[in-house]
């Protein structure tokens, strides 16, 4: 199997090199045979990389421990879903998985892109082939998943317990889809530069790809937070670890790109900026991978050090040099077609939003790389941690939240006082009112109050948009309100999908407020003893330690500590937190014991209990009780964000088939108030 896998990788190497070379050559010489060949390269690559991936998967499922990768990341008693996730659980496999997703995306891009962009496609194929080439080279020469051992161990080393969690089955693929998805808009950008076709055509071609990758990236990051929360047992979901930062940086620049691209579509401005943003996003993806795999900054998540980092560094340097040269030579063609007319306009708001997002990405980069930077320039390693990131990013985040409310409502070009009054009086009042209510309820934390005010303000602007739109349809079309709302969203998917995503962002911020009020207590309890904890919402929880039970479960031995919980004097059930000792197939313990927190989620607050151990030979238990307010809203926000993304992406924003038929038959009529179908947004 590994022979076939390795052979496929070599074949992929040749194909990727062919695709890169022929794509560039064919587009230059306009030789139709070469062009056709280049466009087929991504399909061929998808085929051979799929074969290679299948080989690794089969090796994992058949417990072929002679293969080093299989030995390192799986064992005979590993449940099947985790055997499959072991495919991307380790360095070598995750690189192959990356190549696989990349091939799938680039084949889909070739397949799905409408014919009118045919002039770009050979170059797009060349760029995606080039990136694939890099990953195949790394797979073959630095982290070969098909490497064999000189002997066959009876059992594998097993998968790390913390990766044995449903979150780990879905989180990495989603994040990879996001990372890899960015390659497609990036490839189009490079193709547009190379062909000098720098009108808005390429922007239309990538619109959906940009949103798809952004939604995957957002979902991947949120699922990562969820995994950290339910698995790592420290009661939080974000630690500003380099790996987390590595995924946040491209997310920030992509968010900036999503917005600034609208200005280019609408007003022909910001062409250079958009070019730089999409390239920056792609480079940050590769850079993020580099810092987590090279050991340059220490991270709790990092992979073992290997020569993989060197390959990434070389690729990064070549990439940055090449892109800089390319953009530089095309500068004159990227002049803006319009000028900024007023500070009080949507353009200006979007520009500030872009500056803040990119500024935030830069502070995250700065904080992550600070140990390296300070050692280079001052000779001492100074590190910054979560306090730095919070101190810097909370104000920037709040400014962005404010702009989230302003941006969509303010007029293009120049907002009139009437426009401002009509759009903002009610939301501003709502924001002020919400802050007042929060203050009266006892919120004293300045940032928390500000977040409440801004969240309410933004929520009110979104609600106002939905209400006004629905009311207008109700009036003009005599539709009842439910139909009017449904049609409003259906006819303007990009706009209202965007509002739903904004609403999700507001919900994230509301969830972040909860972090200010997190309450924690560590106690050791004998059976029958009781501890109590008061939540920020005024509930009095008491916990009575029942005892510890021990039993076998799947591939692990479990110590489970149970508590009787009561909330404000009323019995509220039993919660059980586990400490798991994973075993190999001989029944010997592997890895350190891991904790499995007991979590009870509620709309207001989560109860989070960690059983941290018990002194030898007793039934006493060490517990950490955490009350995390509003955490549940984070997961709800994540779901809503994906819903908003799907609404935006839902196909057929063009004229429906029926209306085309009517038009062809000469019956087409258009309501006076109906928005023109194309060109508006």
């Amino acid at each position: 199997m590994t022979v076939l896998g390795e052979l496929s990788l070599w074949l992929a190497l040749l194909l990727a090199a062919w695709g890169t070379f022929v794509g560039a050559l064919g587009a230059r010489s306009r030789n139709p045979d070469l062009l056709a060949s280049a466009r087929r390269a991504p399909y061929a690559l998808l085929l051979v990389i799929s074969v290679a991936s299948l080989c690794l998967l089969v090796a994992l499922l058949r417990h072929d421990f002679n293969v080093q990768y299989v030995y390192q990341y799986s064992s005979r008693n590993l449940p099947t879903p985790y055997l499959i996730s072991a495919f991307y659980g380790g360095q070598a496999g995750s690189l192959l998985f990356w190549a696989l997703v990349l091939c799938a995306f680039s084949a889909a891009a070739q397949w799905l892109t409408p014919r009118r962009y045919n002039h770009l496609m050979p170059y797009v194929a060349a760029v995606t082939s080039m990136v694939t080439l890099f990953f195949v080279v790394v797979s073959l020469f630095a982290a070969n998943p098909f490497e064999r051992l000189q002997f066959t161990p009876p059992d594998g080393a097993g998968l790390n317990p913390q990766l044995q969690n449903p979150g780990m089955v879905f989180h990495p693929p989603l994040l990879f889809f996001g990372y890899v998805g960015i390659t497609i808009p990036f490839a189009f950008a490079v193709a547009a530069l190379l062909t000098n076709r720098l009108d808005t055509g390429w922007l239309h071609a990538i619109r959906k790809w940009t949103i798809v990758s952004w939604v995957f990236l957002s979902a991947g990051i949120t699922l990562g937070m969820w995994w950290a929360y339910v698995e790592l047992g420290w009661g939080g979901y974000w630690a500003w670890d380099p790996v987390e930062n590595a995924s946040l940086m491209p997310w920030l620049t992509m968010t900036a790109f999503l917005h600034s691209v609208m200005i280019q579509e609408k007003r022909g401005m910001l062409k250079k900026w958009n070019m730089i943003l999409i390239m920056l996003s792609f480079v940050l993806c590769i850079f993020g991978t580099f810092i987590t795999r090279s050991g340059i900054v220490s991270s709790v998540h990092s992979f073992a050090q290997s020569s993989v980092g060197d390959y990434f560094l070389v690729f990064l340097i070549l990439l940055v040099a090449g892109l800089t040269a390319l953009v530089w030579t095309r500068m004159p063609r990227l002049e803006a077609e319009a000028k900024l007319e007023s500070m009080v306009s949507r353009e200006a708001t979007f520009l500030f939003n872009n500056l803040l997002l990119v500024g935030m990405a830069f502070t995250v980069l700065w904080g992550t790389m600070f140990p390296v930077v300070s050692e280079m320039f001052r000779g001492v390693r100074v590190t910054v941690g979560p306090p730095f990131f919070n101190q810097v990013n909370v104000p920037i985040g709040l400014a962005l939240l404010a702009l989230t409310g302003v941006g969509p409502l303010i007029a293009w070009r120049k907002a009139s006082p009437a426009n401002l009054k009509r759009q903002f009086v009610a939301p501003l009042a709502t924001g002020g009112g919400a802050a007042l209510v929060a203050a009266l309820l006892g919120v004293r934390h300045a940032y928390a109050l500000l977040t409440v005010a801004l969240s309410a303000f933004v929520a009110a602007t979104i609600l106002q948009e939905f209400l006004k739109g629905t009311a207008a349809r109700h009036r003009l079309h005599n539709e009842n309100y439910a139909v009017a709302l449904a049609r409003l969203v259906a006819r303007n998917r990009r706009r209202y999908g965007g509002y739903i995503v904004h609403a999700a962002v507001v919900i994230y911020f509301v969830a972040f407020i909860g972090d200010v009020y997190k309450t924690e207590r560590e106690v050791t309890l004998k059976p029958g003893e009781t501890a109590s904890l008061r939540s920020p919402f005024g509930h009095e929880y008491t916990f009575t330690h029942v005892g510890i039970s021990q039993y076998d479960q799947l591939n692990r031995f479990v110590f489970a500590a149970s508590l009787e919980v009561s909330k404000s004097g009323r019995r509220d059930g039993v919660m059980t937190s586990e400490m798991r000792q994973y075993l190999d197939s001989m029944g010997q313990p592997t890895f350190q014991p891991s904790t499995e927190p007991a979590i009870r989620s509620g709309l207001l607050e989560d109860l989070y209990i960690v059983f941290a151990g018990s002194p030898e030979g007793t039934e006493e238990a060490v517990y950490r009780f955490t009350i995390s307010p509003l955490v549940w809203w984070l997961w709800f926000g994540g779901v809503l964000l994906v819903v908003g993304g799907v609404v935006t992406l839902w196909p057929s924003s063009g004229p429906s088939r029926a209306s085309v038929r009517r038009a062809l038959e000469g019956y087409q009529t258009r309501m006076v108030d109906e928005e023109p179908m194309a060109g508006v947004r």
Binding site: F352, L355, T363, F388, Q391, V392, E522, T524, S594
Partner: protein, 134 residues
């Protein structure tokens, strides 16, 4: 003033604010990252080191871990091969904490040479990668 100039002024303001946040953030929250040997070198030359926060990366010496469950305190030694420091940490150590594991402790070095940690991160080489087989 032209809108363009106003925008530039706004952009400069934003950039300056972000820059200020970054500089002050590093000043307020930055901590020295040292190895035990580097720390020993500093202690001998500069006694004010006892007053500032330090992060120390080192390896836990096997067999020195002592857990006092009643007070939730962990006592252990860390070393980088040339210098060893005793560490006291009150709180629950992470799952991956064990003998011969790389840790990062953050806290202060007391005058008596004991490192009082307020945070303890265990970096486990096998977090994602299996230990190389001996």
């Amino acid at each position: 003033m032209q809108p363009r100039h106003k925008f530039v002024a706004g952009a400069v303001l934003i950039t300056a604010s972000v820059g200020y946040l970054m500089v002050s953030g590093v000043r307020d929250t930055g901590v020295y990252f040292v190895t035990p040997a580097e720390l020993a070198l500093r202690v001998s030359s500069d006694t004010s080191i006892h007053n500032v926060g330090i992060r120390m990366g080192a390896r836990v010496v096997t067999g020195t871990i002592r857990r006092d469950v009643a007070t939730q305190t962990v006592y252990f030694d860390v070393s980088d091969g040339s210098q060893t420091y005793p560490v006291v940490y009150r709180g629950l150590p992470p799952d991956t904490f064990d003998g011969d594991v790389d840790v990062v402790v953050e806290g202060r070095l007391a005058k008596d040479g004991v490192f009082h940690a307020t945070s303890l991160l265990a970096k486990c080489g096998s977090r994602y990668e299996a230990q190389p087989t001996a």
